[in-house]
């Protein structure tokens, strides 16, 4: 058990390191010149004085060989230093830490709504006796995954902030400002979960052990909840890691639509200003969240499924991977 946890944690560290490395080389090796951008201050890049540019490059250490820069960055990361923002000069980690609480509130709320709503819709799309009701409810998950996040946000704003002014249109003031963004962010995640879960439920309802339950004289509720849902939840549970990552990504658009302060807005600002150190810190942070969630999922998994034992050898880290395809494919 301990050995298993240690090994999984080691694999998680590897993924983190590799994610950082990929992001670093994407950001620093590809043809763009942050120094030029900084110097231009948002103006035309071509008007920048070459001497000033060289000075800036030296200041940020961009004139050194890429591998030296990489080694330096990696050493920095080990001490929690992702470098300073090109724009504000503040440490990237500080910027991320400042933006984080608001985004955690938003994604946490959205996760809760998505899990509750997604499960409810999935069960409701198989449980009713009336065929038309099942079919009507089964339409919801595919519809939900086809809705662009920004579109959902804007339509909600239109109806519930402008037509019927119930909720504030923008800002981070109080719990009430959280309602519309939470729904916006929860729709795609909940729909994705509902798709995986309802497909898995339909599968388990056809399993012979469900027939055994019927043959025992079990009621409809017992068959669906105690037997089918219990088994169907297992594959759905593994989507959690991808779902949380998706919520972090969705926060980018949601926070933009609702003009909220948070990690998403910070991302958009940093991308707009090609502020590589901050983008790198954000990417590394989201990879960390994914790794932690996946590790937790893996450790909780055997409690849900007695067939899994905590000594899965090679390829254990890849267990998180298959779910992405199921999630998207569903």
């Amino acid at each position: 058990m301990t050995r298993y946890v240690l090994r999984r944690a080691g694999q998680g560290l590897f993924v983190l390191w590799a994610a950082f490395t990929v992001a670093f080389f994407v950001l620093y090796l590809l043809p763009s010149d942050p120094a030029a951008l900084v110097a231009s201050g948002g103006g035309e890049v071509s008007q920048v004085d070459p001497a000033q540019l060289a000075a800036l490059r030296a200041e940020y250490g961009l004139d050194r060989p890429i591998l030296v820069q990489y080694g330096d960055a990696l050493l920095g990361v080990l001490t929690g230093d992702f470098g300073d923002s090109y724009v504000s000069g503040a440490p990237a980690t500080t910027l991320v830490a400042q933006a984080l609480p608001e985004t955690l509130k938003l994604t946490g709320a959205a996760l809760a709504v998505a899990v509750a709503g997604g499960t409810a819709v999935a069960v409701a799309s198989v449980f009713p006796r009336a065929r038309f009701l099942r079919q009507a409810l089964a339409v919801l998950p595919p519809l939900g995954v086809a809705l662009p996040t920004f579109f959902v946000g804007l339509v909600l704003l239109q109806w519930f902030s402008f037509r019927v002014p119930v909720f504030p249109a923008i800002g981070n003031e109080g719990a009430i400002s959280l309602v519309l963004p939470t729904i916006t962010l929860a729709v795609p995640a909940g729909a994705q979960l509902a798709q995986v879960l309802s497909r898995s439920l339909r599968g388990t309802l056809g399993e012979p052990y469900v027939e055994t339950a019927w043959a025992k004289g079990a009621s409809r509720t017992r068959v669906h909840l105690a037997h089918a849902l219990r088994n169907a939840a297992i594959p759905a549970f593994t989507v959690l890691g991808v779902m949380v990552g998706g919520l972090l990504g969705g926060a980018v658009v949601t926070e933009t639509v609702f003009s909220r302060v948070g990690l998403g807005r910070l991302t958009v600002q940093s991308v707009n200003q090609q502020d590589a150190p901050v983008v790198l810190a954000i990417v590394a942070f989201s990879a960390l969240v994914f790794v932690v969630v996946t590790l937790v999922v893996d450790l909780v998994y055997p409690l849900l499924d007695p067939r899994i034992e905590l000594r899965t050898p090679r390829g254990a880290s890849r267990r998180a991977a298959p779910q992405r395809a199921t999630a998207v494919n569903a």
């Binding site: 043809p31 958009v268 090609q274 983008v279 990879a287 991977a321």
Partner: protein, 304 residues
């Protein structure tokens, strides 16, 4: 056992074909015919295919669908609600929104198609190598896919855009890279499934060389799910491309890219609902249609 039973032609079991037997031919023409009948019998699928064809036609020949100018507006006609003259209404400069949506189709779809192509080519190549060669190649590629999956795809795309800069082609590459992992996974799983199947072992046992096994059995039989994924990824890519264009990373204004169209209506949410809602619904329709087609492709694959 008797002579009668031995010399009896196999007609006895030939007369009772299995439940899976269908009276159709396996040749190309029969397959196309069957495909057409399959679509016609399903109204939802029919609508989906029609939507995709219509949008493709918009992209190819926008002038055929609207006479209005997508870029130049009539200021006097600004912010008009949808009507017979302006199906989707007009925007703050008096431009016809329907014309902008129709002309925007080519921009959005081209970017999307390029994104899918990037994901498909890179992803299936990686998946094919991993599934067919296995061993350490599989391990290395598997780790790479793990890493790509650990970064939410929109953040991965944004990191690439940070490095590459803005513009439709860069958006396409960024979105495409974001879907490489999915393609690689599905392709690997399919190649593994097919190449460990009994009929591939049978082909190998009857002396077929590996390249022939790959070309004749593995690739054709693993293409189905990958094809379904292409359709699905098309929908996902439309969403991602329009989200990035919504955030302002696509073609700069006044080009009518769909995400940017929706974004442009943000300032008029209280007064002009059509500016966001109608282009938004077009995006929803295309994504829904792509997902429906994907499901149909997946289902035909399962039936086989």
């Amino acid at each position: 056992m008797t002579l009668q039973t031995l010399t009896r032609p196999a007609a006895a079991d030939a007369s009772a074909p299995g439940p899976a037997a269908t009276p159709a031919r396996a040749d190309g023409a029969g397959r196309t015919l069957r495909g057409a009948r399959h679509v016609l019998r399903r109204p939802g699928l029919l609508v989906a295919v029609a939507v995709l064809l219509l949008v493709a036609a918009w992209a190819v020949a926008p002038q055929a669908f609207t006479a209005q100018d997508p870029l130049g507006g009539v200021p006097a006609d600004r912010l008009q609600a949808p009507s017979g003259a302006h199906w989707f209404g007009t925007d703050h400069l008096g431009r016809d929104v329907y014309a902008r949506v129709v002309h925007g189709a080519s921009l959005t779809l081209r970017t999307t198609a390029l994104a899918v192509a990037v994901g498909l080519v890179l992803g299936s190549l990686l998946g094919l190598l991993a599934g067919f060669l296995r061993g350490w190649v599989d391990d290395v590629i598997g780790r790479l896919v793990d890493v790509l999956l650990a970064i939410p795809s929109i953040l991965l795309s944004l990191a690439i855009i940070t490095a590459l800069g803005f513009g439709p082609v860069k958006v396409a590459v960024a979105v495409g890279i974001g879907s490489v992992a999915t393609f690689a996974r599905v392709m690997r799983a399919e190649v593994l499934r097919v190449s460990t199947s009994v009929y591939v072992e049978a082909a190998r046992a009857s002396g077929l060389r590996w390249p022939a096994v790959l070309g004749r059995h593995v690739l054709p039989n693993s293409s189905g799910p990958v094809l379904a994924l292409v359709a699905l990824d098309f929908g996902t890519a439309v969403l991602a491309v329009s989200a990035l264009s919504f955030l302002g990373y696509g073609t700069p204004p006044p080009a009518p890219e769909w995400g940017a169209l929706v974004s442009g209506g943000r300032d008029y949410l209280a007064t002009a609902w059509w500016l966001t809602t109608l282009p938004g619904l077009v995006i929803v329709a295309v994504v829904l249609a792509a997902n429906r087609v994907s499901r149909a492709l997946e289902k035909t694959g399962e039936d086989q």
